[in-house]
């Protein structure tokens, strides 16, 4: 590692280092590592409502929970919905972030800080609070969205009541809420691209589009990798949006893996089963992350 050289001159301060680390590491160990490991253990038990009353009735059941997950029709719909959300919402969110970052960062743009601030504002809002407004924007009878669409001659749409449209509606909300964050990261990435590259391309007569494809995109790759990774991990954990907007409905069309886990775990107290669901999600995310890394390595 390149930073290794710089340490050489520093005296060994192991004891002090551990002192500085100990509060954080202790907290992480007790409130993160231990729960993760116990969740793993729990996922092999039938910890349920009976166990809540009397711990002695917990049994080890091996992989039974995992087997049952895959037999559960609602798990497959939750998985399908979550993938839908990740694969449609994720790219859309990244694309909007990149697009707005390019616009804000363009040389011609004036009032850059103003636009940047406006685009970032939804990020700082509480989802529950904006859900109140969005539920109303989506209202089939007197929502603003249908009102605006009526000018285009489009009949009222039951955004959150129609199983085919509820998930896209959730995606629009999620993109609106989150694109500002990735936009900032993209702007940081854009500003790290040396101007000389564009000047040289300009001399070679490359137009704006060619400059974008030949310079901006390749130079932005590390940023994009980071953004896509963060977005995918976040999007797989879809919970609050359907919880407050649709409760997983209509007809389970917005039921996500985490929402399913929450219902199994805390509504029905099937904690062992819910823990197994959480680990299945963990494996799914892990596979996606590893796939992405492999893809990235191949591209390099």
């Amino acid at each position: 590692m390149s930073t290794e050289k710089s340490y050489r001159r520093i005296v060994d301060r192991t004891a002090a280092a551990w002192l500085f680390l100990s509060p954080s590491l202790a907290a992480i160990a007790v409130f993160f590592v231990v729960p993760v490991l116990s969740a793993l253990v729990m996922s092999f038990t039938d910890f349920d409502i009976y166990a809540l009353g009397d711990l002695s009735v917990v049994r080890f059941i091996g992989f039974e929970n995992y087997r049952r997950i895959f037999e559960l029709p609602i798990f497959w719909s939750a998985l399908r919905n979550t993938f839908y959300f990740v694969l449609v919402g994720g790219p859309l969110s990244v694309a909007v972030s990149l697009g707005t970052a390019l616009m804000v960062n363009a040389k011609l743009t004036r009032f850059k800080p103003l636009f940047r601030t406006i685009f970032f504002l939804p990020v700082v809002t509480s989802l529950v609070a904006v859900a109140v407004v969005w539920r109303y924007l989506y209202h089939p009878a007197h929502g603003i969205l249908n009102y605006l669409l009526s000018f285009a001659g489009i009949a009222p749409i039951d955004w959150l009541g129609n199983p085919a449209i509820a998930m896209p509606a959730i995606i629009v909300l999620a993109v609106w809420k989150g694109f500002g964050y990735n936009m900032l990261i993209f702007i940081a990435g854009l500003q790290n691209i040396p101007d000389e590259l564009y000047e040289a391309a300009h001399m070679d007569g490359a137009n704006a589009w060619r400059q974008f494809v030949d310079i901006t995109l390749p130079m932005l790759t590390p940023t994009s990798v980071f953004v896509v990774m963060i977005t995918i991990i976040g999007y797989f954990q879809l919970f609050a949006e359907p919880y407050v907007m649709t409760q997983g409905g209509p007809l389970n069309s917005t039921m996500s893996i985490v929402l399913l886990m929450y219902e199994q775990g805390f509504r029905w107290w099937n904690m062992g089963f819910a823990a197994a669901i959480a680990f299945v999600l963990f494996v799914v995310i892990l596979i996606f992350t590893l796939l992405q890394m492999a893809l990235q390595r191949r591209m390099q």
């Binding site: 039938d46 349920d48 409502i49 009976y50 809540l52 009353g53 009397d54 009735v57 049994r59 049952r68 029709p73 039951d158 409760q247 209509p250 007809l251 805390f266 509504r267 029905w268 107290w269």
Partner: protein, 415 residues
Amino acid sequence: MLFASGCQSVREQRTTISFWGMGTEGERVKVLIPEFERTHPNIHVVVQQIPWTAAHEKLLTAYAGESTPDVCQLGNTWLPEFTMLKALEPLEPFLRQSSLVTLNDFFDGVLKTNIIDSTLYGIPWYVDTRVLFYRRDLLQAAGWSQPPKTWAEMMRLCASMKEQAKARGIKCYPLFLPTNEWVPAIALGMQAGGELLRQNKTLGNFSGPNFRKAFTLMADIYRNDYSPSGMQLIINLYNSFSDGLVAMYITGPWNIGEFSQRIAPDVRDKWMTAPLPSMDSTWPGASLPLGTSLVIFRQSRHKKEAAQLIEFLASREQSLAFYKITGNLPPRKSAWTDTSLANNRYIQAFYQQLQRLTPLPQVPEWEQIVIKLQLYVEHIATNTMTVDEALRRFDSDTDRMLEKRRWLVETGKIR
């Protein structure tokens, strides 16, 4: 109890008790509290509202975190679960000498759901059961001056209405049987003899003869297109009921208010309610004791005061007051002589129905089981499964959900 001690320093002698109410009831019950505090100057009641959608997890986490309220409103189907957790206090000792609460004044079927292993854990607060809402004019047009009293009559009525509609070239669903509700299916099963679980309620008995009769009837209803088989076909029930697309619907007391307000003005006096038809000749057919009860949590430190609040809310007078502000039906027979109920023609059907209630199986898994049932109702409605297959699968799902209970019963850990 930081909270309570804070209050006590202000009014030294008052005991503060907490009461959790669900949904709108939690909001509206607040109106009744001042009267209670006036007649019980030594008690202060803090009402907390819990949304129905989060109620179950809220109660379980509160139990786990040992922060349950003193008094709570509990859905009748949840009682077995919280009793199993030993979370509830037996109520009989507190109410034995009560002049306000006399147990034999409650509708029998409702009271029974509150008695588990011959111990009383809840006092009914309001009752909810399902009856038939129907369009009088449409039934008359089909030649029926009375609503159907048996399954056979019901099917004949549906057939003739369907035929008439066909002749006139209009769409009609005589009986709306939603695929996402478990109550009608279970009520029909109860009418056919019940015993939906077997072997000390440790195995599903849905493929047994009783429930099979009920499920076959439902399959017939869907397959003859008497009821829409998908939820998308009825977007707004009140509109569909107004324009005659739907002529009959099995639903609960809250819809009396909704129907009165939301149905088109020209059909406003053309609908009526009736008790459910029965499988055989013993009309009315059984319906289910739903609704909620008032319970005291075992962890409560003010059980005596908590019991006083329950006694107050369950009194004839207050259950009537509660009916007037919420439309929730009083569980006490004596309350039904009051003019506010006696003069409401839509409510009489509920009174008759409340005499014929069959308690649900008292197992903690019940709610999960019936949620599963909806899936199979959907399957037979859309004809993606035969009745045989649906019931066989439902039984095996139920067996699996009851596996833990079976093990506990077999090893003698519970009765």
